[in-house]
C-alpha cells in the first residue's frame, strides 16, 4: 500500500501558510482602514494623524495582495 505522505504534507504546509498569510494580510488591511476602539484610540490619538494616510495606503496594498490571491485562485481553477 502506497500512501503519498509527501503530497499530503505539502497540502498541509501550503494550506496552513497560505491561509494564515492571507487572513493575516487581510486583517492588517481591516485594521488599517478601521478606527481604533475608544479606549485604545485615546492612548494612541497623538500619533495617528501623521500616520493615518500611511496606514490607509498600507491597508489598500494588503487588500490588493488579497485580490491578487483570489485572481491566482481563479487561474488555478481555470487552468
Amino acid at each position: 500500500m502506497h500512501i503519498d505522505w509527501a503530497a499530503l504534507g505539502q497540502v498541509f504546509g501550503v494550506s496552513l501558510v497560505v491561509t494564515v498569510g492571507l487572513v493575516g494580510v487581510f486583517t492588517l488591511g481591516i485594521v488599517g482602514t478601521s478606527r481604533k476602539t475608544e479606549t485604545a484610540g485615546a492612548t494612541a490619538a497623538t500619533s495617528t494623524d501623521g500616520s493615518g494616510a500611511l496606514a490607509r495606503t498600507g491597508a489598500y496594498a494588503c487588500f490588493a495582495l488579497c485580490a491578487a490571491a483570489v485572481g491566482y485562485g481563479i487561474y488555478l481553477i481555470v487552468a
Binding site: 497540502v11 491561509t19 492571507l22 481591516i30 485594521v31 476602539t37 488555478l76 481553477i77
Partner: protein, 415 residues
Amino acid sequence: MENITLLIGIVIVTALVFDFTNGFHDTANAMATTISTGALKPKTAVAMSAALNLVGAFLSVEVAKTISGGIIDESAGIRPEVIFAGLVGAIVWNLLTWLAGLPSSSSHALFGGLIGATVASVGFDAVNADKVVMKVLIPAVAAPIVAGIAATVATRLTYRLAKNRDERDTAKGYRAGQIASAALVSLAHGTNDAQKTMGVITLALVAGGVVAPHSDPPMWVIVSAGLAIALGTYLGGWRIIQTLGKGLTDIKPAQGFAAQTGAATVILASSHIGFALSTTQVCSGSIMGAGLGRKGGVVRWSTAGRMVAAWGLTLPAAGLVAAGAALLAEQGDWGIATVAVLGLAVSAGIWAASRRKPVTHDNVNDLNEPQGIAAEPAGVVTAALQAVAPPPAGPLAPAAPAAPTATVPAPATTG
C-alpha cells in the same frame, strides 16, 4: 444524440438527478457561514453560488478519464446497469443525509455506490482496495484536520491582530472578504463536481456506443450537467446550511472569513498538488477550526460526532443500496424498472418526511426559535462554560469537557 437506448437514457437522467442532489447537498459548503454571518442574504447567497457553479461547469474540459479515479477496474467495461445502480445508491444516501441535515461527501457517495454496484455484479476483484484507502479513507481523515488547523490558527491570528478594533467596525470588511472566498469555493465546486457527472454520462454514452471512446463530452452533456448542479445549488439544502452555519459552532464574521478562506485554500491547494480532498469535509473541518480559534468559542461535539459518523457510513451505506439495486437491475428490464420505481418512491418518501419540519431560506438562521426547546440546553451549557472557563486558556481545553454534557441537545438538526 441518435441511437440512445432506453437504458442509456435512464442512466443519463439518473446522473443528472445525482448532479442535482450534489449541488443541493453542497450549497452549504460555500454558503453556510456566509449566510449565518449575514454576509449575504440567504437567497442572494444561493443564487450567487448557483451562478458560479454553472460558470464552473464550463470552465474546464478536463474530463476525468475514469469516473471513479481508478477505484474500480473499468477496463473490463463497466456496464450501464452498474452505473445506474451506483447512481441510485449515491442519490438515496445524499437524500438521507440531507434529511438528517448532515453534510457528507457527494463524491464519496458516488464512489460508494459504484463500488457497491460493481462488487454485486462483478465481485470484489474489480475493486482496488489500495485506491479506496488512498482516495477515500486517508483524505477523509486528513481533510478536516488540515482545514481545521489552518482555520484555527488563522482565526486566532485575526482576532489577535484586530483586538484593538471594534467588532462592529470590522464586520463589514470580514464579510466582504468572506464573499470572495465563498465565491472561489463555489467556482471550484462547479468545476470539479459537474465534471464528475459529465464523466458519468460520457461513460454511459461510450458504453452504449453513442460516442467514440475517449471523446470529450458533447455540448448538451456539459450544458445539462451545469444546469442540474446549478438548479440544485439554487434550491439549496437549507437543512445542511443550518447545521454548518449554526449547528456546529457560533460563527462571527471574522471566523466566517477565516473558515471560508481556509476552505478555499485547502481545496485549491489539494487539487493543484494532486491529493484531492473532499470539499464537504474540508469546509466542515474549517468551520470547526474557526469555532475553536475564537476565545470562548464552543464546538458542539455532539453535532460534529453525528457528522463524522455520517462520513464513515457514506461509503458502505451508498454501497449497500447500490449493491441491492445492482442485483435487481441485473434481472433484466423489469429489474431496472423496479429499481427506478423504488428509487423514486424512496426519494418521495424522504421529501415528504422533510416537509414535516421544513427548513427554508426564511428560518435557516434562527436555530433556536421555530425548532425550539431542544436548542436551549446547549445555550445554557455554552453560557456556563464561558462563565467558568478562564478566557486566556486555550479554547480546546474548555470545549472538550463540554462533550459529555452537550450530547443530549443535538441542537442543529432535529428535523
